[in-house]
Symmetry: C2
Subunit: 475 residues, 2 copies
């Protein structure tokens, strides 16, 4: 391949048309794609980028979903705003490695990231004590936050866990407490060598997902008197993944303070609610957390990968992470040096799509996304409430609707039939929902996190798909 290749400029117009055309038609594209075998044969010769793009169009693109469109409600999936789209394309093109302090790299990329962290902190109405870093997503953020919490527990025991490992605790355990903690918390704990088991705190009487502060108080009292415990970390989901239900952070924080436990709030998909004056109260007390995490590739509508980790313990954060190397020596200045704050060394310029979106839309633009998607969830909930085929499992909360299939007479359907209905709904390819399990029974979850989704364009199509899928399954 020629090092003077102008393939990029030759190919760019075709690729541009292709991207813009797809973007323009995203509302009418099938939401999910039919699969096909993908060849794993490695070519010997150089066919060139043009041939590769042609092959992409015929063999890959038809089999890739339109999850970034307005009616993919599976998992929790955001789209890409125009500003974030442009920002991410620029990130590709500028191809920065945001690793060292700006001065060491001859590039302001780390300074841009630092500014973006401050802007996000402000967007979320958090005080200036918080510092943090952009990560690859919720799991990365949780792993990092719990690594900082782990370091903090070590300090209380006179141990530098980052440096000397968990074994320096001499057999004492670090306990992590939660109620319906997300799988990514278990995954993070597993990575950190803590094992996957969250100590279960019972929910508030009458609720399924919300941590009972009194039960937490009791559980932490037991641990505090247990000589085998090095320290406690309390994980609160704000909100819980099936429901978006949030806990009472002021109460839980008070319990944590009493027992000198670390409070981690996994803002996950719902952190952005804080940007909306209408919905911010769901995450009231967020500013009491020792660490806060969330995904930006969901509700913030920037491309994958993007997450946020904030903590009010900057010294513990850098102590948990910093490891030096001769050729990186110049990077340990007091300046913002991601290598000392991130579990990864090399890092994409993922602050840039966030910067572009924050500049383009401001507080008001992000609040609009929150309000519009929450409104959609409320309206979808209203439709389900009056439907004879489905019933709500709880009132819609923020941007999440949890519901299930019922018989026309309101009775439960058997689990296999419930699954079949969901398959038929998704087979319309006009909508995509995730199945889940709620209190032991199959349920359907809609997470509305795309900036395009709106009642006027999408609600009727969604309702129709739900109706058609139900009918097809019962045929």
């Amino acid at each position: 391949m020629d090092p003077h290749s102008t393939d990029l400029s030759k190919l760019w117009p075709d690729v541009s048309s292709y991207i813009l055309n797809r973007d323009q038609n995203i509302r009418s594209l099938p939401v999910t794609a039919p699969l096909a075998a993908i060849s794993a044969e490695l070519p010997t010769k150089s066919a060139g980028p043009d041939a590769a793009f042609q092959l992409f169009k015929t063999s890959i693109a038809p089999h890739v979903n339109a999850a970034c469109g307005p009616r993919y409600f599976g998992f929790i999936t955001g789209g890409v705003t125009p500003a974030a789209h442009i920002g991410d394309v620029l990130a590709t093109s500028f191809d920065q490695n945001v690793m060292t302090a700006s001065e060491s790299a001859g590039s302001a990329a780390a300074d841009v990231e630092e500014a973006v962290v401050v802007m996000l902190r402000d967007l979320l109405h958090l005080p200036a004590e918080y510092e943090g870093i952009i990560t690859a997503g919720g799991t990365s953020s949780n792993t990092l936050a719990l690594a900082v919490a782990r370091q903090w527990v070590g300090r209380k025991n006179g141990v530098d866990i980052g440096e000397d490992g968990l074994q320096a605790l001499g057999g004492k355990a670090i306990r992590v407490f939660g109620t319906m903690a997300h799988q990514s918390i278990s995954k993070a704990m597993s990575t950190l060598g803590l094992g996957r088991k969250v100590v279960q705190v019972p929910p508030l009487p009458g609720t399924v997902t919300q941590m009972d502060p009194e039960a937490l108080d009791k559980a932490l009292s037991l641990e505090t008197n247990n000589g085998g415990t090095a320290g406690c970390i309390v994980v609160v989901q704000s909100g819980e993944v099936n429901t978006s239900n949030c806990d009472s952070l002021p109460q839980i924080s008070a319990v944590c303070k009493r027992h000198n436990a670390w409070l981690h709030v996994d803002g996950a998909a719902n952190l952005l609610a804080r940007a909306s004056p209408t919905h911010a109260q769901s995450l009231e007390g967020l500013e009491l957390a020792d660490s806060i995490t969330g995904d930006c590739h969901k509700w913030f509508n920037v491309p994958y990968d993007s997450g946020l980790m904030l903590t009010r313990h900057p010294a513990v954060h850098s102590a948990a992470i910093t490891a030096t190397a001769a050729y990186l020596a110049a990077t340990t200045t007091p300046a913002y040096a991601p290598i000392n704050l991130s579990l990864d060394n090399s890092r994409r310029f993922r602050a840039l799509p966030l910067w572009m979106a924050l500049q383009a839309y401001g507080r008001e633009g992000f609040a609009e996304i929150v309000d519009r998607t929450c409104d959609f969830a409320a309206q979808l909930g209203a439709w389900i409430r009056q439907s004879q085929q489905y019933e709500l499992l709880q009132p819609p909360c923020l941007n999440t609707v949890l519901f299930r299939v019922v018989e026309v007479n309101g009775e439960e359907v058997d689990p296999e039939m419930a699954k079949r209905v969901l398959q038929h709904v998704n087979a319309t390819r006009k909508v995509f929902f995730s199945g889940t399990v709620w209190q032991g029974k199959p349920a359907i979850r809609a997470a509305i996190a795309n900036w395009r989704t709106n009642v006027e364009d999408d609600l009727q199509i969604v309702a129709q798909s739900l109706t058609e899928g139900y009918a097809a399954a019962f045929l």
Copy 2:
């Protein structure tokens, strides 16, 4: 912000011109950029993407380096081939979350990733036993590989470390051995709760970086007889970060086998040497490793973030990672499900730029990149050898040149002056080298990993910058 916004298509032509213009001029752009304060003020109102792009052009772009150009030799920094560039722009635009098996997501994205892993395995001439996953880079890959190794050690002790944590080893330690192991190994160990300390194996007599298999044999013998040791992991750098020196993998593998130790080869920046018939022998015996890692955003010249982790222990790999959740239940099929193989859940479609580059350039194209950059390193080495201002610290190895500043009479200069010379060289903004420390003294390292770098265009400019920087420092 309007959910029907056509801002993307309105703005795209300007952004396209901007990107293509920068790409066309990348050879003449200053390699590093003057820094400036970056505002962290969050706007309240939506100014729109156009205003954000204008602000980017004036306040950010002039302060971002041209590390993706041909003469940024700092750290180890690759560029972006045209095919990878297009592939990554498509990844942004299609915005896949490559998390679950393709069938669960209604998207072949996971199948594409699986195919890319196979193609990379073939490009690196590794046998079909290896399976693996695309990661966010070298550190992520090392963290994942060592998590798999940790799980394997646990199994030997009847313990499921992923599930039950390190404390289930009952105080027994996992020892990691290395010679000049990279900082990312320490970082990975720290994340995993093992602490940062690598047990140092002395180098082969007469070398600085290469592990002495006899010394390793002795060290492992001691550990095998130590009741406090749960198991051993041996980390080999192929190559070492300052020099690209590689170890004798067949000899080291034989020692590991004898002691039932896990052999991890951190291919780091040099893995791609295996794609070149001329340079593959540097990594002879790679196929003996239990796990292999490397960066793809370096020599492979795909954009950040991209890395590879391969292992010949797929069952241990998935046991180390798999954690389930109700709404993810459908994802635990036998199909390729990244969530069960990756430390992160959500994941960018970073297989796509790799797929595009593999399709576009094939084996021969990647071999050309290796050969051209290694040739450049050899020629730069030849220039340094005849220079009176610099001397080689070892013959160039693969794409790396390690050298230092000397007096005209061949004597050492004092460390401060050595640093000042490097500052002046980099201040030409025509080239960028990392300073490093070699055997206690300041040195300069050139890592040639950009597909564009070539002798004809770049060598003279580099030589001139070295000459000018030296003169300016001694003025």
